[in-house]
Symmetry: C2
Subunit: 157 residues, 2 copies
DNA sequence: GTTGAAAAGTGCTGCGA
DNA sequence: TCGCAGCACTTTTCAAC
């Protein structure tokens, strides 16, 4: 069997397949095959290889949060009392479902979070009750997104 | 035909279908049908309705950026010289492929960006050459993500 | 709106080159 | 390693409830 370590050098065909599927994961293999002028079996082999190696982690359905009543997207700079409290804080923040991303960062803030809420009341509740209640968190700075101007995946190659 | 406005009140079945597919968009309808104890046809009707309304925007293949050599994730607080330059700046920033998210925000920064780069050299190039070259951008503050502790979609219901 | 089954299309697995 | 062909499966459609 092949080397399944982190190192993976995708060739042009691999990159093209990923490029097509990253934008719409529902496109059938046969159609990709037609586009790239190879057989459907080849697409299948390449996909299996990339799934085995772990390059492809799965696929997500993209939904429009606003359409189901989640109107507010905000970023949160989080200050910890002590950097050592990071691991505990993460475990507690994981229970707050409104947090969709959490990063441990260099720079001004200890951590950086992205949260999605229904409305301003919901946001206030998450900030005041849920997040401020986490042990080790000193204070937070909130940036509310008024418009998501760009939202896309990385461009390969 | 039905009302296709922004307002949509998903019932329990809709939410359950979304909940299953948001985590893995490759699960076949027939299997969802078995789980929720309805017929495959019903799943299909509900999905079609939600696609028509725009709740479902599509599906993305999730890939591991690190596995294909993109090691660095960073957030960027962007200061504009004048707020009115926002629209032009967005158009220029759209051409920088390393930017995967861009938000127009309240608070300290005019805009907030998330960028993905291969390595520190790549990041430096994007920051110094590409982003600083955009007209209207005064300065930026960079937060490099050392660890993505949480990455998920919103929890429905 | 839901069901169940038939029709159409896709994905998977050999063998051959 | 790639391409082709047959089988199994899923999606889609539709008449009936």
């Amino acid at each position: 069997m092949e080397n399944r370590s982190q190192n993976f050098e995708p060739d042009n065909l691999d990159l093209q397949i990923l490029g097509v599927l990253m934008e719409d994961a529902t496109i059938p293999y046969t159609e990709i095959a037609k586009k790239l002028i190879v057989s459907g079996g080849t697409i299948h082999v390449r996909m299996k290889k990339m799934q085995d190696i772990g390059v492809i982690k799965g696929s997500h359905l993209m939904i429009d949060p606003q359409k189901i009543g989640y109107d507010i997207c905000a970023f949160l700079g989080i200050f910890l009392e002590k950097g050592s409290q990071y691991k505990d804080a993460v475990e507690n923040l994981r229970n707050i479902k409104e947090i969709v991303e959490l990063h441990y960062c260099t720079g001004l803030y200890s951590m950086f979070a992205k949260i999605i809420c229904r409305d301003t009341n919901h946001l206030r509740h998450v900030l005041n009750e849920d997040i401020q209640g986490v042990k080790g968190i000193q204070r937070t700075e909130t940036f509310i997104s008024l418009e998501e101007s760009i939202k896309r995946q990385i461009t390969l190659q």
